[in-house]
């Protein structure tokens, strides 16, 4: 059966604001999944809290809507327990860059094969427009009482220094381009990150579609090649970081892709040979009668170092 983008839609009513950037992300997602013909039962979307957190309910693949900031942590357990799954995280800028920042960095260190989609609209939408970690200092979006007093952080640069092996930036209104980024991220083996710029029509009156239309340009326009060649990892990384700080015009596309780093799953399988052979959920832990596979004999062999055989004095 060939799946069309529509086959990935659920019948849950999408309750984002009309004109929300999330619609572009969702459309790109359906198209990417269809193009890759992803098996919905083998695909999992894990989300945090906020407008982006609702994404899994709108997609007909497994969907785990978790806690604020913790989607990556849940996803890590899901993926490690079943390394055959395609696991994708959707989170907002407050979710991934604020409350859940520690997990975001940790995932880069792990290079576990999880795709992280950052819905980056620079405000906390669902709680009525507070400044998020990606809003620049001094800016005052619609519902702020005062201009933002904190400096912003750069998600692309952060992903690069954290160790993500695929780092890209997309724009929600350029859905076809975003779809291609998502496909590339899914095909990549390792931790992948896409910073998806998106307008918040209700609370962000600065970063509007008009704003982005003037600023956004494609990295490949000036011949940027994100692929790391063997031995050139740090040069590519430094240049990618540099490009991620361009502000006058905002580059989108793939900043960095490194296919030479071992994933966490691969590291485990190197240590534990049976890990990939029979993935953990399908490993037998009990016999047909319900008794554990570790019977008395296996127990004694396995834990020999804790067992003392008594030699009674005569």
């Amino acid at each position: 059966m060939v799946r069309s983008p529509n086959d990935y839609r659920t019948d849950v009513w999408v309750d984002w604001c009309p004109g929300c950037g999330n619609y572009g992300i969702l459309a790109a997602l359906y198209k990417a999944f269809a193009e890759l013909q992803l098996d919905p039962t083998n695909t999992v979307i894990v989300s945090g809290i906020g407008c982006s957190g609702k994404t899994p309910h709108f997609v007909k693949v497994n969907g785990i809507h978790t806690l604020h900031g913790r989607a990556i942590a849940f996803a890590s357990g899901i993926k490690l327990a079943n390394p055959n799954l395609t696991v994708m995280v959707h989170g907002g800028d407050g979710d991934l860059m604020g409350i859940g920042l520690g997990h975001f960095i940790a995932l880069g260190r792990k290079n576990l094969d999880i795709k992280v989609m950052l819905h980056d609209n620079r405000v906390y939408g669902l709680t009525k427009g507070q400044a998020s970690p990606t809003l620049s200092k001094g800016l005052r979006t619609k519902s702020l009482a005062q201009p933002n007093i904190l400096n912003s952080l750069n998600p692309v640069a952060l992903a690069l220094v954290s160790g993500y092996t695929f780092v890209a930036r997309g724009y929600s209104m350029l859905s076809e381009h975003l779809k291609n980024l998502i496909i590339a991220a899914i095909k990549h083996k390792g931790s992948a990150f896409i910073d998806i710029l998106q307008p918040c029509v209700t609370y962000n009156d600065i970063h509007t579609p008009e704003y982005y239309r003037k600023k956004v340009y494609f990295l490949e326009e000036d011949g940027w090649n994100p692929m790391v060649r063997e031995g050139e990892e740090s040069d590519k990384l430094l240049n990618a970081i540099k490009r991620s700080f361009e502000e006058e015009r905002i580059p989108i596309g793939i900043f960095y892709q490194n296919n030479f780093k071992q994933t966490l799953e691969e590291s485990y399988s190197q240590r534990i040979s049976s890990y990939f052979k029979t993935i953990p959920p399908w490993q037998k832990i009990s016999k047909d009668d319900g008794s554990p596979i570790f019977d008395e004999i296996l127990f004694e062999k396995m834990f020999e170092e804790y067992i003392v055989r008594v030699e009674r004095s005569q």
Partner: protein, 635 residues
């Protein structure tokens, strides 16, 4: 000849005391003796005073500790000063003759409180504060017998014999203590060799060097002082014994129970369990792999529990191990697991609290916290264990109940159990069953939160089913739903699981009464109070006072009917809560759940175990009319 002996060995943290305890415990076990050893240490890597307090028995397996001890082995002067009052009259103290002129006031690691107590004692005794003055005093007043050894000389013999540098030789300091104990109790060197071979398998030099010291010291001790504390041959009938810490026995149980994922963030006293699990990650026996166990050290405890829940959604048995500060961070995700009806097991080793508290000391002050942690109402199981074997079976029970009822299970333990090395019979694996609850892997239009059955079917991510889950209130599919009537149905379905668990889990897994209806006093306790309480029952019986002990194991859902049926036979003044916390938390819960007032309490919150001697004394004080006794013995 002794059939039961208490020994205390102490020295600076990081000087090999722990491996001495392992060698000794295996040596005793090899000869059929039962052993119970508590390890007391500071939150410190090197230098602060640590000690091991052990009971060895030739009749049965000991389950508690007591004071005074028969033997004190001091690796350094601080140990001597800290523990000389713990030694019985005519007891034996092993010490280093080079410390004779050392005064307590010159030891910087002695804390101000003890320093002051020593100052008071020494001025009372009219001593100058040195070890030699103390020896004179103890010889005269307590008839203490002393075994003075020249530790440095023993080490230089080692260094000469094997051409080791003095620094290298000094690493064997703790073996001097082992040798002294072997000599004093008359243990066979064959058994020591067995223990060394087991502890240092594949490292023949370590075995040789340790054996050299142990043999020469034990011979010296026997020759010059005699086998002062000779042990009767063991009358225990076990052919094999498990010698393990609580952390290790739980790790073994998790492996037998089919665990496939363990996440943790380093914390005392829980991390050793994860470390042990990781050493067995290949689940290999005779070169054949029986599966794979992923053990991951996460960035924090929040990630630890979230990833464990994630792994559970993927269909593996998963758990995380922690202590109080870590559990505090896990609380939000605990509620999430309750809300999305996900199995997960949290192995919770309590330590001295609140806040950082006493990271390496014991306590039982988190019971009420585990019962109420996280916002909102959701079903959870809180299960506690009283000793190593109970903990073994309960670990598997926790995994089973969690999957059978799709609820988070908190397995509540404490530092006393985590770090004590105990001999037990091997667990009876044939008694163990794996129950994964009802699962389904193929079903069109699957409803993860199906309201038509009390416990919804569980599936695995990656089976032939699509599932959704949300911490939001949800419909049967797992999609957000705020409809008030749906809310009521979902809420009730979740909460009713408590009634189902209450009706289905056998009461013997949840509370055990040791005693009879005519007991003068019934103790009510939980966790590692069990061993000492049972020993106190026997001890009181010797002086003609019948006591009983009600051992509480499951706190949620609480076995109210059973507990009520036992306790209602007694008057409040005949009931005594025995707990390691200030409020006697379990007794408050008993009151709340059964209406029964427990009229007395014996509590201890110094971070040290409850000792048999002080518990018996406290029970007698309760009999004499005191309502609350606070215990504080132990360094």
């Amino acid at each position: 000849m002794y059939n039961n002996i208490l020994i205390l060995l102490g020295g600076p943290q990081g000087s090999g005391l722990e491996s001495s305890a392992q060698i000794l415990s295996k040596t005793f076990a090899r000869l059929g003796y039962g052993l119970f050893a508590d390890r007391e240490y500071f939150s410190n890597i090197k230098g602060r005073h640590s000690y091991i307090h052990m009971r060895i028995s030739s009749k049965g397996l000991p389950v508690s500790l007591s004071y005074p001890v028969q033997i004190l082995c001091a690796m350094d002067a601080e140990t001597f000063f800290t523990h000389f009052q713990d030694v019985e009259e005519k007891g034996v103290i092993v010490y280093d003759v080079s410390t004779l002129s050392t005064k307590y006031s010159a030891i910087p690691s002695i804390e101000p409180g003890l320093r002051e107590r020593l100052r008071v004692s020494f001025s009372e005794f009219g001593l100058d504060g040195s070890i030699s003055s103390l020896i004179r005093y103890l010889k005269a007043v307590k008839k203490t017998r002393f075994i003075g050894l020249d530790y440095q000389k023993i080490l230089s013999e080692l260094s000469q014999k094997f051409t080791l540098s003095p620094a290298h030789a000094s690493r064997y300091l703790s073996s001097i203590i082992v040798g002294a104990i072997v000599g004093l109790t008359g243990l066979k060197l064959d058994a020591v060799a067995y223990a060394l071979a087991s502890r240092f398998a594949g490292r023949p030099q370590l075995i040789e060097h340790n054996m050299f010291i142990i043999e020469s010291v034990s011979k010296t001790v026997m020759k010059e002082f005699g086998t002062l504390c000779e042990l009767e041959p063991s009358a225990n009938s076990l052919e094999k014994m498990l010698v393990s810490s609580g952390n290790d026995v739980i790790a073994m149980a998790k492996i037998v129970g089919g665990l496939r994922f363990q996440s943790y963030y380093p914390i005392t006293p829980a991390a050793d369990e994860s470390f042990t699990l990781e050493t067995f990650e290949r689940l290999e026996v005779d070169g054949e792999s029986l599966g794979s166990l992923i053990v991951i050290q996460t960035e924090d405890e929040i990630a630890a529990i979230c990833s464990a829940i994630g792994a559970s959604l993927s269909g593996v048995r998963s758990s995380t191990s922690t202590s109080g500060p870590g559990f505090s961070l896990m609380v939000e995700a605990l509620g999430y697991a309750g809300q999305i009806e996900s199995p997960v097991v949290i192995t919770y080793y309590q330590r001295g609290a609140p806040s950082t508290g006493q990271p390496t000391r014991g306590g039982q002050s988190d019971l009420l916290f585990t019962l109420y942690a996280s916002h909102g109402e959701f079903p959870r199981i809180v299960l506690s264990s009283g000793d190593h074997l109970e903990a073994f079976y309960d670990t598997i029970l926790a995994l089973n109940l969690s999957e059978r009822y799709n609820v988070p299970v908190i397995h509540l333990l404490d530092k006393f159990l985590a770090n004590s090395i105990v001999t037990t019979p091997l667990p009876e694996i044939s008694k163990v069953k794996i129950d994964r609850g009802k699962t389904v892997f193929e079903k069109p239009d699957f409803k993860r939160f199906d309201l038509s059955r009390p416990i919804s079917l569980r599936t695995f991510l990656g089976s032939n089913i699509i599932q959704w889950a949300a911490g939001d209130e949800h419909d049967e599919y797992g999609h957000i739903d705020e409809d008030p009537l749906n809310r009521r149905k979902m809420y009730e379905k979740r909460m009713k699981k408590l009634e189902i668990i209450d009706s289905e889990v056998p009461v013997e897994e949840r509370a055990i009464f040791y005693g009879q209806d005519d007991a003068r006093l019934v103790m009510i306790g939980w966790g590692s109070v069990k061993g000492v309480a049972l020993d106190a029952v026997k001890e009181m019986e010797l002086s003609g006072i019948k006591c009983g002990y009600l051992h509480l194991k499951m706190f949620s859902p609480f076995p109210s009917e059973y507990v009520k049926s036992i306790l209602s036979k007694f008057k409040p003044e005949n009931l005594v809560a025995v707990e390691h916390n200030y409020l006697a938390q379990a007794s408050q819960l008993v009151r709340q759940q059964t209406g029964i007032l427990i009229g007395n309490s014996i509590v201890k919150y110094t971070g040290r175990p409850i000792y048999l001697s002080e518990l018996v004394n406290a029970l007698n004080r309760i009999l004499n009319g005191e309502r609350r006794v606070v215990l504080e013995y132990g360094a």
